[in-house]
Symmetry: D2
């Protein structure tokens, strides 16, 4: 029985992890922490878990975390890095859903997160946990950085295109639309129903923290450094990310819809959670709501000499907690789809 | 391997049935019918089912239906009754999610549904499929009428109160709020985003088809015929029903919060899908979204000498397809919770 | 030119007041206060006001408030009462949108608002500002307490019924559904999109602050003290209140749909903002969104011997800022509809 | 008193026209037509208009239309063109909110709208009704084609950028997000709450009817024909369009945030309904909900050498009926803002 700890389970990625883990018969939820709610029942905060999770929140510095086989961090940034070294020392393996170990360049991390990193050495050891990219390294890792939500949708959409090498990587655009749950479960005026419903807006127009993570990921697949304009939008829905990705065909290259379609299908043929839609079908975030899938459509607009890729995920599942469980399955040598085959909730 | 047929799977209760049945290893989806879409892939209509359901829609008069062990009808009213006699004859057992066999009084049925019933004899045989009321009869039934969504929420909320006998049954009010998916997946102006979002209204103010079904169910638990004012409301959300139930304490009776709480908890102690919340906690439809639970809170308002029960379900799960699967489990002698333990999708 | 001050204009009732006042040519917005935003432009906080309101927020203790002819308080409770005595002394007239002067019984106020009232003498002078009830007194008042949102919808719906005297006032139920803007524009987890969308719930089940205000208002129209069960619900929309009001016909009384319809129409014949719908039409909150109307439907359910009244308002207009402007018009001797005739925003 | 007719007033642009026209004291609504609802009261279909519009729907072939001074067509495409010649002959002036007279190239129109145009000669006479582009011609026109919703948002955003000539017009991207009301008020499964809420998707991926209209408009401001990738998205809200516009800086050109900001502000300095936001402020559709404004933010992303323009309108106001009223004001020689200064409904 694999022993599991979850740090910071009072947010949306936390409750989503609990939803996905609660019924696993091969695991046991040992510790669920929250500094402010320690001692109160998890199911009192989240009544959806009544009858499924019987634990109380523990203090986050609980000794018991070190006895876990796998510890998930579902914390804001700059929290996990303080605890990870000690946990690794005690033999736990860590999956960090926060940003602390995603960027290999410490200076870039420190600029975007406006604080010093307390364990830059561990950044080198940390494996970037996008299974479709790093499956082998994840399997052996002690510390995995689960990718951000936008980076997951955008990398899965762009990587086959970069890999096939037909586009002008200096002209990439990623126009991404996220549901409001991406902002987390914290008191803030901007995400009230009265502010965020019945409206759409771009935000972080002059730079978003996920930008460098996306570029780092895309540059692995491009000889030339990509020039990506990434523009996130707050969309009036709870869950879901749709990334609309634009890339011009490179000068002198021949492209066709068939070529792209075949390439994408081949590229993801063995991926259990990436679903390339047939020509003429297009993703909607509703079709992956609550499920760990990324649905992708690749389109060639001949008149514009441009490729448009549409990539949809549930930001809390494939964009966070589902992907973290997928990572855990790989780390534990389990079938990767274990506990993750539930179907999207439609309507 | 139990063979399953689903008639009319292009609507919301249909796709929800498929979501709940697709991964069952003890069942095989044999036939999924749709008159208009016969020959096209189910997963083309519902891309959420890609990789989970490989069937094509068949014609509804498919011979193959008769070979199924269990046939679900997820059709509008006055459709199932025409096919059920033939299917029963061939040995299939039927779970009808429509209204055709819910009302024991044929005349009442015909008045509300404005057509003649073609097999009134079968109405007598049909078992009303609320497991919390009729578990034993369901187990042996050939034909089960799955309850309506409002009737499920309202009966589960009111029954223990009627059973304990402390209230004035001539003054019952059920103010019920339903998400828009209750109106089904059919082209109709009233349920467009532009009509039904950002607004709430009562409808069927002078009588709703579920009224007689609710009264029939409540009267089983009341010596005196109940006088129930049932008022449904269209609520700007996709899923969920909240029923707010009001009953005055009968003259001369003594009631307390503790008495009611204990009674409700005892009444539902062995029910896997009815969850009586502790005093001070109240249901919200989000906490049962996508799950087969009914969450109930019973409240005594001493100043008003009135009991208020709050009852929340997902109209498409415990109010329709989840309950139909629960019924099937009972009919097949399986553990009642098989395939139904998934946790609500929060947020 | 009438000089206007608005205290606490950073909330939803504040911005709604500014929307309704900005284009009045007979008024001049002199002072708009906010402690935390003093010195910054109002239109920076609310970009919808760009080009319409050129003011900056002032400190709330601004001397300039005392020079205004009319000062609106759009503050949380227990704020206005500290400033009102001084303002009245300086000759300003006050319209308080908060709860500070709504309840005539000081002890009740102090119990519900959990603080001492600092100027109980002014409570006696304060006029309860429901124009349909108190028009004459409002005209001469120095201090008017604008009614709460629920109390407006519920009183306007119930008053004609109480006045005609055919119902059992010991069995009243008001099941009310409010949009999330009713909770104000303050950082709070409960009203995030991820919490409040796609869900409905009852709240304040064992007592809401508007309860005593409603009872105070209804008792003016009833010989016997009413026994009202008032149950508010948080509804997943921004604006709107629908109150569904239930009342049994009193023993021995004869009621008919025609009688009730005629009575309600007569009762409100001269009211510019109360619209009694014809039989067969029912209110939806969308039809009053952004407008100062209350749409009412009165229904007699003969089988239940019960009257059901449906009453819809926009909680921020007729339920708050629109009504405050209506009050101001009366106080200033202007046509009551001045600046309030805009039509609801449909869809 | 100017006499007004509205053809096809049962849709969303129709009811929005009536909202904007009903209180005009300089106009008289003479005829409001609907084939299917002729003889019934307009305010019965749209209860928001009760007390504001007393007309009944007339047959669309009403003689009375010809007596109007201004006739608005709020009809689907390929309807207006059949009636316009006759109306012009009788002396009426026409503002067509449909697509019939927007494209100067008849062949392109016929390809996209899949029918023959019945009066191509009138296309030449028709004036494209974007006031910011064509104010003078509108003033004298007999027939004005009101622009589409996407074309309004995108042209207003891009035109100053094209005009200043610093960008590579072969690499334009317009990623546009529209509320569901853009699909109109017609029964269609795709726009049900259960389909379109809590989800976002791209649609018309391989070409949208507004594409040629946008290109026609942009090419007026560009020496070289633009290559624009226009991608519309269905967004889970009722009203609003946000267009996110991407353009790379042309090789060898120098751009700065200040230069662009100054240019946009100068360009629109005298436009009453185009509001260029200061640097650091960004549009959200909520800030123009119900109002005739277009809020624009121009941004220079130096690292990407790219300009990003954000342009927000209410699709039913500046994107349809508000703009039509603005056109009418110009045609009648009235102040352009007459009846259009209402403030957006926030929240």
């Amino acid at each position: 029985m694999v022993k599991i700890g979850v740090v910071g389970a009072t947010g949306y990625t936390g409750v989503e992890l609990l939803r996905l883990l609660a019924h696993r018969e091969d695991l046991r939820l040992e510790v669920v922490t929250s500094r402010e709610l320690q001692g109160s029942a998890v199911a009192e905060l989240f009544p959806s878990l009544r009858g499924h999770v019987d634990l109380e929140f523990s203090a986050p510095d609980s000794e018991a975390l070190g006895d876990c086989d796998i510890v998930f961090f579902a914390t804001p940034h700059a929290v996990a890095m303080h605890s990870v070294p000690g946990l690794l020392e005690k033999g736990a393996r860590v999956i960090d859903l926060s940003a602390d170990f995603r960027l290999q360049n410490v200076a870039v991390w420190e600029r975007w997160y406006k604080t010093s990193h307390c364990c830059p050495d561990l950044i080198k050891e940390a494996v970037y946990g996008l299974p479709e990219v790093n499956r082998a390294q994840i399997g052996n890792a002690r510390l995995v950085a689960a990718p951000g939500c936008y980076p997951t949708a955008i990398q899965l959409g762009f990587i086959p295109l970069l890999q096939v090498g037909l586009i002008d990587v200096t002209q990439l655009v990623a126009d991404a639309k996220s549901g409001v749950s991406g902002a987390g479960r914290k008191a803030a005026v901007d995400f009230l129903v009265g502010e965020a419903n019945e409206s759409i807006k771009a935000y972080a127009v002059h730079g978003h923290r996920h930008g460098p993570e996306i570029e780092q990921g895309l540059n692995r697949y491009s000889e030339q450094a990509v020039n990506l304009t990434f523009m996130p939008h707050l969309t009036p829905m709870i869950r879901g990310i749709l990334a609309t990705l634009y890339a011009p065909v490179a000068g002198g290259k021949e492209v066709s819809a068939e070529l792209l379609q075949t390439h994408y299908q081949d590229y993801y043929r063995n991926e259990p959670f990436v679903d390339v839609l047939p020509q003429g079908q297009f993703p909607a975030t509703r079709n992956v709501k609550g499920a760990n899938y990324c649905q992708i459509s690749v389109n060639y607009l001949a008149e514009n000499s441009r490729v448009v890729v549409l990539s949809a995920i549930d930001n809390l599942v494939k964009g966070a907690s589902g992907q973290a469980v997928q990572i855990m399955n790989i780390m534990l040598g389990l079938p990767e789809t274990t506990g993750l085959e539930n179907i999207a909730l439609v309507p």
